[in-house]
Subunit: 267 residues, 2 copies
């Protein structure tokens, strides 16, 4: 197999573009996935693998991870270490990459509505936070996810890494309008709860989520839900705390609320 | 006031050394704190502020944050932007720093024993994880913390940033020996629970933490608690999950367990 040694190779340039730009990902309906475990996860998740890239060293070291990736990929390329450094978003690249087609769950529409419970994330700005929240949603089980407004891209390298591939498997939809979404959730029989740092709101510990279908709206790291979106929800939920409540970070607050929602369910 | 413009100024070199090296922090019993809010938190937390540094731009922009910092500091220096860039661990520095003496809570000994509940962290390697867990422990309230074995340094720039200053206010002790600690916890009347990803362990949802004093042992991100430490605990706790349990990250698992422990308490 010929080894790609030039950073200007058109296949490499296209892959690097997918890593760098959300616009490029949208236009091509594809994204770049990095790392032996994440690429294997992508292959096993049934994503379309358009191409994979690996260094000679990675072929030796990550053979067991690479096998399903190579099998699922339409094209496979060996690349030089300096090409891996170009494609990588990390300082110490493993040297394994694949170009994947858009996950079906992200195609839009109302696929998340088939889930038992829903998480609605509004204007989450930090890709690490978004990835962590998606990873937790998958781990706790049963969640579909809507990304409302200007959430950062779950297919960026940093979000993918933090999500540990949860984005490949969750039902996720991007949704521009809180009004439209709130109406469709109500029609589908979901209660709608706005997470707020407000001591007057309903305490999450007093809720019983074991019956019915529920959705949880979580807002931006700094400013919370927009008043418009919070106002569209049927109720407000808060986390009662002894300590410095304002000090819980966005991902930790989301973890507690999702856990409380899942905790009452079947386990 | 004279402006420090040289990166080789001895005061600056000493401050940069505190940022770069855990050894230097231990030797000097001091650490470098960065950012307007974190420095203000340090001043208000009653830490010894040996010196503060700020750029002219920061003086204009963060005056309200700087006032208590300057008041509490033994020495104050204005610094040039290139000096701020040297001291900073971030790409876009705010230009506010202070050198603080070791927090009293970190002095060692058994100060955490006065807390209502305890978190024991063993061999946590990632400073972002450590900081996030400390931040959550403070937010949920009532926790003292032991850092067991080779935990990363809670006073490193990354851990400080993730902790949002929780390390200034929590009672934290570093502890070399799991055996010695387990004995002292038992003597002080704390039950000891090892967090494990094991479906045979006691489900945390079946526990009642509302009575008595309890401690929670959480291990390394990749490999969990050492068998020695887990074996010293009186029981094993796990998080029952519908989803991909193995996929919960260390900070999220710690959040769920701490939340369950705090949830049963007085609120």
């Amino acid at each position: 197999m010929p080894v790609i040694t030039s950073r200007r190779n058109p296949v490499i340039k296209a892959a690097a573009g997918l890593s760098a730009s959300a616009g490029s990902r949208r236009e091509k309906r594809a994204f770049l996935c990095e790392g032996a475990r994440l690429c294997k996860d992508a292959a096993l998740s049934g994503l379309e693998l358009r191409a994979c890239f690996y260094t000679a060293q990675a072929r030796e070291k990550y053979g067991a991870y690479l096998a399903p990736v190579k099998k699922a990929s339409q094209e496979a390329y060996e690349i030089a270490p300096e090409v891996a450094a170009l494609l990588s978003a990390t300082k110490a690249p493993q040297g394994v990459f694949c170009v994947c087609g858009w996950p079906q769950g992200l195609a839009g529409g109302d696929a998340p509505l088939s889930a038992r419970r829903l998480l609605v994330l509004e204007h989450i700005q930090d890709p690490g936070n978004l990835g962590t929240i998606l990873r937790t949603a998958e781990a706790l089980g049963g969640f579909g996810v809507y990304l409302l407004g200007s959430c950062c891209d779950p297919l960026s390298p940093k979000a993918l890494r933090a999500s540990m591939g949860a984005v490949f498997r969750l039902k996720i939809a991007q949704e521009p309008s809180p009004q439209g979404l709130a109406e469709r959730l109500a029609q589908a029989g979901f209660s709608t709860w706005a997470a707020v740092p407000d001591r007057q709101a309903r305490r999450v510990t007093e809720m019983d989520f074991s019956q019915g279908r529920h959705s949880l709206f979580i807002g931006n790291e700094g400013s919370g839900l927009t008043p418009e979106t919070a106002g569209l929800c049927k109720g407000k939920l808060t986390i009662p705390m002894l300590g410095r409540a304002e000090s819980l970070n966005a991902a930790a607050a989301a973890t507690v609320l999702m856990w409380e929602m899942a905790r009452g369910g079947e386990r």
